[in-house]
């Protein structure tokens, strides 16, 4: 069947090869004036993704809860950069968000207070508190060492101690008068008879007259209650003294602290929360003045009830969690590529002190949500989902509209350390997740909360229609890549070559890939090769070199496969004809590298029940799509040939020397050709290779990887020497996808190789066998000598055999005759 609408070259056997112009579409940059990419204005990737960009703008513009964005696309599409650029544009007009600080909660130290301040003022508060402490570290000791304080303290001491001393002196004098000595024992006091201020030894005392001894004993018995009473009064005096001294300390501390606090308050008079904190600081300073005056005394008196890592003055510090002081105007856009729980919602760190882990409000660290508050945060969805606790924590934050710092160790209950429960901070950030499409679809299907939190989908295209406009935009994108990475500029030919390659990467001459990362790699490598060649500007040759080198680096398996064919280890004929044998084409993708490889497909036929045995499926190497393709063949055969009787065919199909899985239906047309060849006993040309799927009506349908498949067979033929008759049959629908290598096109132009667009099985079989397929005549029969006639006759013969044998049931593969 001629395919003149495809621009074919008529061939002697009636099937036309494609003209070179249709084997690849060249980029036309005539509408874009530039000499090198240095002349082109920069552009960001979002321009070529208008649908996704609009979605992001919508998400960022709607301030309603749940209108967060999930950006999806292939990994090479540079979604993060594109999203970031769109967000920057969308949020640039917003006011800077406020600062947040954590301060000590003096009443409940394990629950630090969060205070919000106008943008940029947090560092000033922190500095103010540091100055306050610095001032008090001088002022308070000075106040407590002052003559005035010491005098007043001495007066209190003297007054109260004096009262105690007077009581003891009186008792002592009374005891002395009664010739009684009061002795200090290790644990208390005792009384003994005395003479001349010295205790009388027992032997001398026993020598005293009885009356005198009894008098002493009586005196002791009289004094003992007084001693007890006097001593019992001491704790009350001590308390009185302590209270008086404490009052003096407070008074002294007030005088020193008030002035400093008032100065600090003046700077933040417009912020009630700060003033409240400063009042709390004042009260704490008064109560803990020993921290400044005599740290050793503070320890001795148990003043370290609030355990403090580091300096004891940290309790008055300010932990600046987030500040806009260093930012220009606009909302923050934060990218979190490692979204652990701690990196996301913040964390509480610990210090080891004498073997124990301790913490305080100063060790609270901000998470990405804190930093993004008031703006937007980009999170890698895969990273988020692969980090334990992060995804649920993010959903909780979005649900509650607040950021709660959660400690993993406490969440899972493995930590016995006392931790903090900082005040939650209100969340007002637009969350943008980005990742593979499959993640979005899985979350949408499996997580019931997902739709509630991510209502806006930004779907990044893998490719875009190829028009002069899109080519111009992509050219500017290439220019931007070169500029950003300080690469050598590209000349016009190089840019055109890059765009050609973009179409090849899109597997479609009519589309351009948007996998910017792949283009980026290409341009970087080309710039390198230009440098190696001593060129200041990247030319087409450098792009070609980069593409060739990329292929070469990844081509080890491809070359090994080709070598096996060329050494006749893997059997592929590229000349002659064989019955029931055709060169099929498949594509192998290994990482980023895909290549085509011819595979011999054979068929054997015999009388049977109409079953076609797919050997790949029987041994479980065939995938479902492949099996579907084979089953379609049965439908085609039954519909075309077994019009008045049951199919009496048993056939087997196999991919020879295929030891791995086979899937896809792109070989179904090749399999049908082998079946027809086997049935008609018509040899198929081995200098041709075939790709394309087929439907039950015998129409050849488009397949993927057409360029790689053609080039795979071409490479084998070229290695053996192009005969001029070799070529590939492809579905006509795939012509629009052709972006073949230059050497293939050149060979076709020279008539040494050919690409045949085929719409039907009849056209294909005619080309492969050199015999017309034939069309049923008015008598319902195919013309004599046609291939279809031969097939039908063979099938009738099979039916006759079965009838002769009276066998109504066959199907066993081992009963071939």
């Amino acid at each position: 069947m001629p395919d003149n609408d495809l621009g074919t070259i008529p061939s002697p056997d009636g099937v036309a090869a494609l003209a070179p112009a249709h084997l690849a579409r060249r980029t036309d940059l005539a509408g874009l004036a530039f000499t090198t990419t240095a002349d082109l204005a920069p552009i960001d990737g979002a321009v070529v993704q208008p649908r996704a960009a609009d979605a992001i703008r919508l998400g960022s513009a709607i301030p309603v809860r749940g209108f967060n964005v999930f950006a999806i696309g292939a990994s090479g599409a540079r979604i993060r950069q594109a999203v970031s650029a769109v967000l920057a544009e969308a949020t640039s007009a917003r006011a800077s968000p406020p600062d947040w600080v954590y301060v000590n909660n003096f009443a409940v130290p394990h629950r630090p207070r969060a205070i919000v301040l106008p943008a940029g003022r947090a560092p000033a508060l922190q500095k103010t508190m540091q100055h306050l402490v610095d001032d008090l570290r001088v002022a308070l000791p000075a106040a407590f060492e002052s003559e005035d304080y010491q005098r007043r303290r001495g007066a209190i001491d003297d007054e109260i101690r004096g009262r105690g001393e007077r009581a003891f002196n009186a008792l002592g004098e009374k005891a002395t008068a009664k010739r009684i000595a009061i002795l200090r024992t290790p644990m208390g006091f005792a009384m003994a008879p005395a003479r001349d201020d010295k205790v009388v030894p027992p032997d001398k005392f026993n020598a005293w007259p009885e009356a005198e001894r009894q008098a002493v004993q009586a005196a002791i018995e009289e004094l003992e209650p007084e001693l007890e009473q006097t001593l019992r009064a001491m704790p009350r005096l001590d308390k009185e003294r302590r209270d008086a001294l404490r009052a003096l300390e407070r008074q002294t501390a007030h005088a020193a602290v008030d002035q400093s606090i008032e100065e600090a308050r003046a700077a933040f008079a417009d912020l009630p929360a700060v003033l409240e904190q400063l009042d709390a600081v004042r009260a704490d300073l008064i109560e803990n003045v020993y921290l400044f005056v005599n740290p050793h005394a503070a320890e001795a008196e148990g003043q370290q009830a609030v355990t403090r890592p580091g300096s004891p003055f940290e309790r008055y510090d300010v932990n600046v969690l987030v500040t806009q002081a260093d930012r220009a105007n606009g909302a923050p856009i934060v990218e979190e590529l490692h979204p652990t729980l701690g990196n996301l919602v913040g964390r509480v760190e610990y210090l080891s002190q004498q073997g124990a882990l301790v913490t305080n409000f100063r060790l609270i660290k901000a998470g990405a949500l804190h930093r993004a508050n008031g703006g937007a945060i980009l999170i890698d969805a895969r990273g988020l989902l692969s980090e334990p606790f992060s995804w649920p924590a993010l959903k909780r934050a979005l649900s509650q509209q607040r950021i709660v710092i959660e400690d993993v160790a406490h969440v899972i209950g493995i930590a016995a350390t006392v931790s903090l429960e900082p005040d939650p901070i209100p969340l007002d950030a637009k969350v943008v997740l980005f990742g593979d499409r499959i993640l979005y679809y899985l979350l949408a299907a499996l997580d019931p909360d997902f739709a509630q939190h991510f209502k806006v989908l930004a779907d990044f295209d893998d490719d875009t229609p190829r028009t002069p406009d899109s080519e111009a935009v992509l050219a500017r994108l290439v220019a931007d890549i070169a500029r950003r990475d300080a690469l050598k500029p590209l000349d016009r030919a190089a840019v055109a070559r890059v765009l050609d390659h973009a179409a090849r990467l899109a597997e479609d001459a009519a589309r351009l890939t948007l996998m910017v990362e792949l283009l980026h790699e290409l341009v970087v490598e080309a710039s390198h090769w230009a440098g190696v060649a001593g060129r200041a500007v990247v030319g087409r040759a450098d792009i070609d070199r980069a593409i060739a080198e990329q292929r070469r680096r990844a081509a080890r398996i491809e070359e090994r496969g080709r070598e096996m064919i060329l050494r006749d280890i893997a059997l592929i004929d590229t000349a002659g004809s064989r019955v029931g044998q055709v060169n099929g084409l498949s594509v192998l993708s290994l990482g980023t590298h895909a290549f085509g490889r011819p595979t011999r497909i054979t068929a054997r036929v015999r009388p049977g029940t109409g079953r076609i045995v797919d050997i790949e499926r029987e041994v479980e190497l065939g995938g479902p799509l492949h099996s579907k393709g084979v089953l379609i063949l049965s439908g085609f055969l039954a519909g075309r040939y077994a019009l008045d009787s049951a199919m009496s065919l048993s056939a087997s199909l196999v991919f020879e020397q295929s030891y791995g899985g086979v899937d896809g239906d792109s070989a179904s047309s090749a399999e049908l050709y082998t079946l027809l060849s086997a049935l008609a006993e018509a040899p198929l040309r081995q200098d041709l290779a075939v790709t394309g799927s087929v439907n039950q009506l015998g129409e050849v349908q488009a397949i993927g990887g057409v360029n790689e498949k053609i080039e795979g067979f071409f490479d084998i033929c070229a290695a053996r020497g192009l005969s001029g008759t070799q070529g590939v049959l492809i579905p006509a629908a795939n012509v629009q996808h052709l972006m073949l290598r230059d050497e293939v096109i050149e060979a076709c132009a020279a008539g040494r190789f050919a690409v045949y667009p085929v719409r039907t099985i009849d056209a294909g079989i005619a080309l492969l066998t050199g015999r017309p397929a034939g069309v049923r005549g008015a008598d319902g029969a195919y013309p004599e000598g046609s291939l279809n006639r031969a097939v039908e006759d063979r099938l009738k013969a099979f039916a006759a055999v079965r009838r002769a044998m009276g066998d109504g049931t066959d199907g066993a593969a081992g009963k071939e005759r």
Binding site: P186, M187, G188, E228, L231, L237
Partner: protein, 293 residues
């Protein structure tokens, strides 16, 4: 006094004259501040520190009285005196004193000894001391200690001894500040001792001097000889009468850490030392006039 004479005085009053700090641990054990002061003094003057714990013989005899009872603190309960228990508690108190001495001396790297003697606590330390000793007495902070009257007697005994005496009052006001000295003559040993301590401590020396230009000149020369620069020595005028009031007036608002006096012989009366220590809440070191030679 010439520089040479000043150096001689320093040698005699400092490293040459004193060899040991003798610390009465009976009272000091209740006040770590007193032990710290003694240890720092030993370090500054490069002296040995000997802590003495006196076991009261009267206490052991008391246990033999059939009617003897003890009011035990802090429960305020009366118990019969048991000689075995008393002995064990005295040993424990001594051990505590030893531990405190070690705790304060080891970090300063000074040589320390610990001795236990049995006798009268009010006189034993003085009896052990000599001219090359500085006896350190720590005044008990608790008013109840007045009952036993041990400290006043120990203080009087120490003043009567040949040793210098450092009186440490309860709750010292400060551990840093100038070293003040009351100087009444060119050969006043208080000058040499105070200068030596100030130089070692890196503190200022404050000289409280009567109005006498020659004396002032000599005193400043002695201070220079001790290694103190001009900016490290100040002088305050002392009224002619060397009473405790005069000393307090001369000190004014000074935040001294130590006051050095020479005992009697034209200087401040002995009784004033304890009053000055209480008033200023700083240790007062009373040195012997004989030390000046």
């Amino acid at each position: 006094m010439s520089d040479r004479a000043g150096e001689a005085a320093l040698r005699m009053a400092g490293r040459a004259a004193y060899q040991r700090v003798l610390l009465d641990l009976c009272n000091a054990a209740a006040d770590r501040g007193g032990i710290r002061v003694a240890a720092e003094l030993a370090r500054l003057l490069d002296l040995d520190l000997t802590g003495v714990f006196v076991e009261d013989t009267a206490l052991f005899g008391l246990a033999e009285y059939p009617f003897a009872r003890e009011l035990r603190l802090p429960g305020h309960e009366w118990h019969k005196l048991d000689p075995g228990r008393i002995a064990a508690e005295v040993r424990a108190a001594a051990e505590t004193a030893r531990r405190l001495l070690d705790e304060h001396s080891a970090p300063l790297g000074i040589r320390s000894l610990f001795e236990v003697v049995r006798g009268d606590p009010s006189g034993s330390i003085a009896a052990l001391s000599g001219t090359s000793d500085i006896v350190v007495l720590v005044e008990p902070a608790a008013p109840s200690e007045r009952l036993a009257r041990a400290f006043p007697r120990a203080w009087q005994s120490a003043l009567r001894s040949a040793a210098a005496v450092l009186l440490v009052p309860p709750r010292i006001a400060r551990h840093h500040g100038p070293i003040a000295a009351v100087v009444t003559s060119a050969g006043d040993p208080a000058l040499a001792t105070a200068a030596a301590i100030a130089a070692a401590a890196g503190e200022q020396l404050l000289l409280l001097l009567p109005h006498d230009d020659a004396l002032k000149t000599a005193a400043l020369a002695a201070a220079r000889a001790a290694g103190l620069g001009g900016g490290q020595v100040r002088t305050h005028r002392l009224r002619a009468a060397t009473t405790q009031e005069a000393v307090l007036h001369a000190l004014g608002t000074t935040q001294e850490r130590l006051l050095v006096l020479t005992r009697a012989a034209g200087g401040v009366p002995d009784t004033a030392a304890s009053h000055l220590a209480a008033a200023r809440r700083v240790p007062v070191l009373v040195v012997e006039p004989d030390a000046a030679g």
